[in-house]
Structure formats: structure tokens, C-alpha cells
């Protein structure tokens, strides 16, 4: 019995060792990111590993705010993220509700089409999306940044699954009371869908805030750059000459903060989102 105890103690210890080691591997890059954004350039170059800036300097942030278009990118990112998230939440829940509850002709075929759409790899649509935006004269506009992203097949799927799990009785009571389809949806069903709506809001927020590839085929004017696009330009473009790491890392920190905050606050919804995304497969 005693041997067994010491063995389980050893395995507990080994378990923690592995967990802590990987927690360091997964989190230390962020420590490096934040620490080096507050270093001076020579310090960042000389001692990249150290988590303590020596001396502490905010010149990276000053430069990124004053010498780059970062404030503009930030504004564009906020605008695009709000519009895309609001659009996705509304349109995906409408479509999800219709597919789950309203018995209209072509419903099954449409749902199969939505599943089929989810299977198309986004990268493949790159150049094709540009062709359509260009053809309609939308290329290089806010519309091009927002409109193609405003609907997401996976979001429709998540909402449909959710509405199917809600008992029909409540809606039927509303309908018998004479509420129309829209009224039932808006004031009875949607308020019940809060957990699913939060999940969808969070996935949409994270997806649109981080979106990069779409901006490459949608816009080219620097005035329309979002944060990821601006940072990518900063790194690979003309400004990328020279190292300037504190500046670049500072910009990267600013791009990471909103998602990090939301992640800490709404962690369980993130987890749910990841697993619901898995179920579609």
C-alpha cells in the first residue's frame, strides 16, 4: 500500500511538472511580448529573454502611436468588428431560427447548402472574393471589408442547433396568443437564447478582430487598413526595415489585449465555442 502511495505521489508530481512546463511554453512568449514592448531597442536586442525591461521605456508605444497610422487602424478595426459581430449575431440567429423552427419549402436543401458552404476552405476563396468585389465596384471600400464577413455558415449552424434544443412549447404559447413569427422570434425566443448568443458574439468578435487574409483581397488603401493588416504591413513593408522590435511588439500587444480581456472574462463561452465548432465536423 505504501509503495502505491509513493508511486501516485510521484506521478502527481510528474503531472504537475509537465503542466507547469507547458504552461510556461504557452505563456512565456506573451511575457516576452509585453516585456520587450517596454524595452529600449538595444535592451531588446541584447537581452530578449528577460521579463524585466531595463531601463523601462515607453518609447516603443510613443513611436507606434505617433509615427505610424496605428490610431487609424485601431479605429477601423473597432468599426469593422462591431459591424461584423452585430451583423453575424442578428443574421445567423434569424437563419438558425428559421432552419430549426419555421417549416418552409426548401429548408432541408438550404441546410445542406449551409453545411456544404462550411466545407469550402476559406483560403481557396481568396482570389475569387476579390473578383466579385472588383466586379461590383466594391473593392477598396468599407463595404468590402464588412459585407462578405457579415454572415458565417458556422454561426448559422450553432444557432440552429441551439434553437432545436429549446422546447417548442413556449413559442407555441406565444403563437396561440396571436404573436407573429417575427414577434415570437424577437421577444420570446431570442431572450431565451442568451447563452448561444453570447457564444456567437464572442466567436464573431474574436474572428473579425483577428481577421487578416480577407483585408488583403478587400482593400489596398492604407486608410482602410485594420489592425492586423497594418501590423503585417509594418513588419513586412518599408517600415519593417531595421529591427524596431519594441514598436512592433507594442503594436502586437495592442492587437492582443481586447481578445485577451474577453478571453479572461468569458472563458467558458470560448470553450463552448471551440467545442461547438467541433461538433459540426
Amino acid at each position: 500500500m505504501k509503495r502505491r502511495d509513493s508511486r501516485s505521489l510521484a506521478s502527481t508530481f510528474a503531472g504537475y511538472f509537465v503542466l507547469v512546463f507547458f504552461a510556461l511554453v504557452f505563456l512565456y512568449p506573451f511575457v516576452i511580448q509585453v516585456a520587450n514592448s517596454f524595452k529600449t531597442e538595444p535592451d531588446a536586442a541584447a537581452d530578449a529573454l528577460s521579463p524585466v525591461p531595463h531601463p523601462f521605456s515607453t518609447s516603443g508605444y510613443e513611436k507606434v502611436f505617433l509615427n505610424t497610422d496605428l490610431p487609424l487602424w485601431l479605429g477601423n478595426s473597432v468599426l469593422v468588428t462591431i459591424l461584423v459581430t452585430a451583423g453575424r449575431v442578428l443574421l445567423c440567429s434569424m437563419a438558425g431560427y428559421a432552419l430549426a423552427r419555421i417549416r418552409f419549402r426548401g429548408r432541408k436543401a438550404l441546410f445542406s447548402a449551409v453545411i456544404g458552404v462550411m466545407a469550402v476552405p476559406p483560403v481557396v476563396l481568396f482570389v475569387p472574393k476579390f473578383l466579385v468585389l472588383n466586379q461590383f465596384g466594391l473593392y477598396d471600400s468599407y463595404t468590402a471589408l464588412v459585407l462578405p464577413l457579415i454572415v458565417d455558415a458556422a454561426g448559422v449552424f450553432i444557432m440552429k442547433q441551439f434553437f432545436e434544443s429549446v422546447p417548442v412549447s413556449v413559442e407555441e404559447a406565444a403563437r396561440i396568443d396571436g404573436a407573429g413569427v417575427w414577434r415570437t422570434f424577437w421577444s420570446v425566443v431570442l431572450p431565451m437564447a442568451r447563452p448561444a448568443l453570447i457564444t456567437l458574439t464572442i466567436i464573431s468578435f474574436q474572428g473579425s478582430w483577428n481577421e487578416f487574409a480577407h483585408t488583403l483581397v478587400a482593400v489596398q488603401s492604407p486608410e482602410l487598413f485594420t489592425l492586423p493588416r497594418g501590423i503585417a504591413d509594418l513588419v513586412s513593408g518599408s517600415l519593417g526595415k531595421g529591427t524596431q522590435y519594441p514598436l512592433k511588439l507594442g503594436a502586437a500587444v495592442l492587437a492582443t489585449i481586447p481578445v485577451a480581456v474577453i478571453f479572461v472574462v468569458f472563458q467558458r463561452y470560448f470553450v463552448r465555442g471551440a467545442n461547438e465548432g467541433a461538433e459540426k465536423g
Binding site: Q33, L49, V235, G281
Partner: protein
């Protein structure tokens, strides 16, 4: 009371027993049809415009030599048939060489990333799930966090970490290792390995391998393995995606009833045996899902290549996705660029189907054996 009635009633037939009202009202079925289509209309229109239509347009453009001027449908656009496709496979030239190089690079990338992230995700999930350990929520969050952050921001961080004076180089120095110059090192890892084992000299490769090979690349070039520069992207991606897959494994592990584990314990099965005969078979659907999602995602690697390497050094981090972008938007050969997209699409579809077929082939066999 209404609740119980509604719950037991079959789902269809909503509000059927309604008294006919006077006036020109539409029937309930017609109204349902209209409402349904109105609800899905925005999604249908936008997916149609930005998903279906692009694919159809791209099919046309891939058959032309459109250079981005004006509309691709105007009469003057040269129609070239399937030339944009055949050039990738049969014609000796730069287009084929670049394309095949990108396929080679991405192949090695997939071959390392998919197994690595799957094993890491499963391992982490098993440890996090173990009942003896505390702090589950924290570790789960720590491992998952990288996958929710911006791919661009994180690529910048890795650029810095792997820079010549960066963290990894200093860390290796602590252990007395002289690290490579990660982003400018185009040497293939397999070449280095062959050299290290004394099987072939990378500076003077065997003529038998350099003389010929399929699709315009020599056997020696096909056998390069990922370049050192590509390895940094591989590490980055394994690091960012493992957390998501860990969550999937974790969810599946939590669905396994504890009684099953206990039954195995009572039967005297050791930990390893229990894993092999109880846990692993129950995780199989999740394992296949993770492999499939991984396979699909890894053939699409783009953001990291764009930010970290732009296909350099010596085109060893070029991937089909990036090549397609580069061909269309930098060389203005839109026909060629879309053709590459479609070939990539075909590769992904074929591999996904292949994997499904392998999975289907095995499952019934297992089931019959058991019964």
C-alpha cells in the same frame, strides 16, 4: 398544462387548428413559407454573392489570361482554356517549379504539424483531465489562450523570439548550442539529417538524385524536408493550434463515464492498459475529427507565411495558398492564381475524402470483430 400538451405533441403542425378568419388572409402554410424565406434571405444573399458567385467567376477567370484591368467578362480578355492548369503540371517552367516547390513545402509542413499538434493536444488533455491534479481551469486556459489571439500579432512575437539575437538563440546558448539563423536558413532538415548521418553530402548531393525527378523538381529537391525557416512556422502553428484540439479531446474525455474506468481498474487493468483498451477506443471519433480538421487547416497556411517569411528564404516557405495570392496580386496573373486555388481545393477535398474512406474502412471491421 399547456406545456405538457405541447411537449408530447409531435413537432410539426404548428397552430393547425385555427378557425378560418374572414378577409383575404394567406393560408398558414404559405405564411410559414414566406416568413421562413424572409428569415434566411440575408444569409442566402450574402453567401450566394460572396461564396457561390466567387467560385463560379473564378472558374471562368482560371480559364483566361485576365490581368486585372477592367472586367474579366469583357470581350478582349484572352481565353486560354486549361493552360493555367496544365502549366502547373506538365510544362517545364517557372510556374511549375514554383508550384511544385510550394506543394513540397506544404507537404512536409502538414506531415509534421498534424501529428505533432494531435499528440501534444491529446497528451495535454489527458494530464489536465487527470483527477488527482488541481488547477484544471488555469492550465486549460493557459494552453488554449494562444489559439484565440491574432495570427498576425503572434507571428510578430515569433519573429522576435527567433530573431538572430532573439530569445531562442540566447536560450540555446545557455545550453552551449549555437542556434541557426532561423529565418534566413533555407537548408532542408532532411538534407541536414542525411548529411549528419553521412549518407549524403548536402553540398555535393549524389548525382543519381539530382539528375531527374517528377514534375520538374529533382529527387534531391523533393527529399529536402522542411527548411530550417519553415520549422519556425511549424513550431508557431503547433503552439497556437494545440490548445483548440486539446479542448476537443478534453470534452470527449469528460464524456467517458467514470464507472468504465473503475470497472477496468477492478479487472486489474494497469493505467497503460486502461488507456489502450478503454480511453483510446472511446476517443476515436474525436481523434479522427482532430486529424481531419488539422489536415484541412494545415493545407491552408497563409497568415504566418505572409507575416514571417513571404515564401523566403529561397522559396522554402512558399505554400500553395501564398503562391496563389502572390501570383494573382503581385504578378497580376489572376488566371494562374485562381487555377492554383482550385488545385489546392482539389487537394484538400481529395485528402479529406481519403481520410474518411480510411476511417470508414476500419470501423465496420472493428465492430464485427467485437460482436
Amino acid at each position: 398544462m399547456a406545456d405538457t400538451v405541447a411537449d408530447t405533441a409531435p413537432a410539426p403542425a404548428p397552430a393547425a387548428p385555427r378557425a378560418p378568419r374572414p378577409g383575404p388572409r394567406l393560408s398558414a402554410a404559405v405564411r410559414e413559407n414566406i416568413a421562413g424565406w424572409l428569415f434566411v434571405a440575408p444569409v442566402v444573399v450574402i453567401l450566394g454573392l460572396f461564396l457561390l458567385l466567387p467560385i463560379l467567376m473564378a472558374m471562368w477567370v482560371s480559364l483566361t489570361d485576365w490581368n486585372g484591368q477592367g472586367s474579366p467578362f469583357r470581350p478582349g480578355v484572352p481565353f486560354v482554356g486549361t493552360e493555367n492548369y496544365t502549366r502547373l503540371f506538365t510544362e517545364d517552367g517557372l510556374a511549375r517549379q514554383d508550384f511544385m516547390t510550394s506543394i513540397r513545402n506544404n507537404f512536409y509542413y502538414v506531415a509534421i504539424v498534424v501529428p505533432a499538434q494531435t499528440v501534444l493536444a491529446l497528451g495535454l488533455a489527458l494530464i489536465v483531465n487527470s483527477r488527482m491534479l488541481k488547477g484544471k481551469t488555469f492550465f486549460r486556459a493557459a494552453f488554449f489562450f494562444p489559439s484565440v489571439t491574432s495570427s498576425v500579432a503572434i507571428s510578430v512575437v515569433f519573429l522576435f523570439i527567433f530573431a538572430n539575437s532573439g530569445a531562442v538563440t540566447s536560450l540555446l546558448k545557455v545550453f552551449g548550442i549555437d542556434g541557426p539563423q532561423w529565418f534566413s536558413d533555407s537548408r532542408g532538415v532532411l538534407h541536414l539529417l542525411l548529411g549528419g548521418l553521412g549518407l549524403a553530402d548536402p553540398d555535393n548531393p549524389p548525382a543519381a538524385l539530382t539528375d531527374g525527378g517528377p514534375f520538374g523538381l529533382s529527387w534531391w529537391e523533393w527529399l529536402s524536408g522542411p527548411s530550417v525557416a519553415m520549422c519556425t512556422i511549424i513550431m508557431l502553428v503547433v503552439w497556437t493550434t494545440s490548445g483548440t484540439f486539446m479542448l476537443m479531446f478534453l470534452a470527449a474525455l469528460q464524456d467517458i463515464p467514470v464507472t468504465l474506468e473503475e470497472a477496468g481498474m477492478l479487472d486489474g487493468a494497469g493505467r497503460r492498459q486502461r488507456f489502450r483498451h478503454i480511453t483510446l477506443p472511446l476517443l476515436k471519433p474525436t481523434l479522427f475529427l482532430v486529424l481531419t480538421l488539422g489536415l484541412i487547416a494545415t493545407w491552408q497556411v497563409f497568415d504566418q507565411v505572409y507575416v514571417m517569411s513571404q515564401g523566403n528564404p529561397a522559396k522554402t516557405t512558399l505554400t500553395p495558398a501564398f503562391l496563389s495570392y502572390q501570383t494573382a496580386f503581385r504578378s497580376f496573373e489572376y488566371g494562374s492564381g485562381t487555377a492554383i486555388s482550385f488545385v489546392l481545393f482539389a487537394i484538400i477535398v481529395v485528402l479529406a475524402l481519403l481520410q474518411r474512406w480510411i476511417m470508414r474502412d476500419r470501423d465496420p471491421a472493428r465492430r464485427t470483430r467485437r460482436s
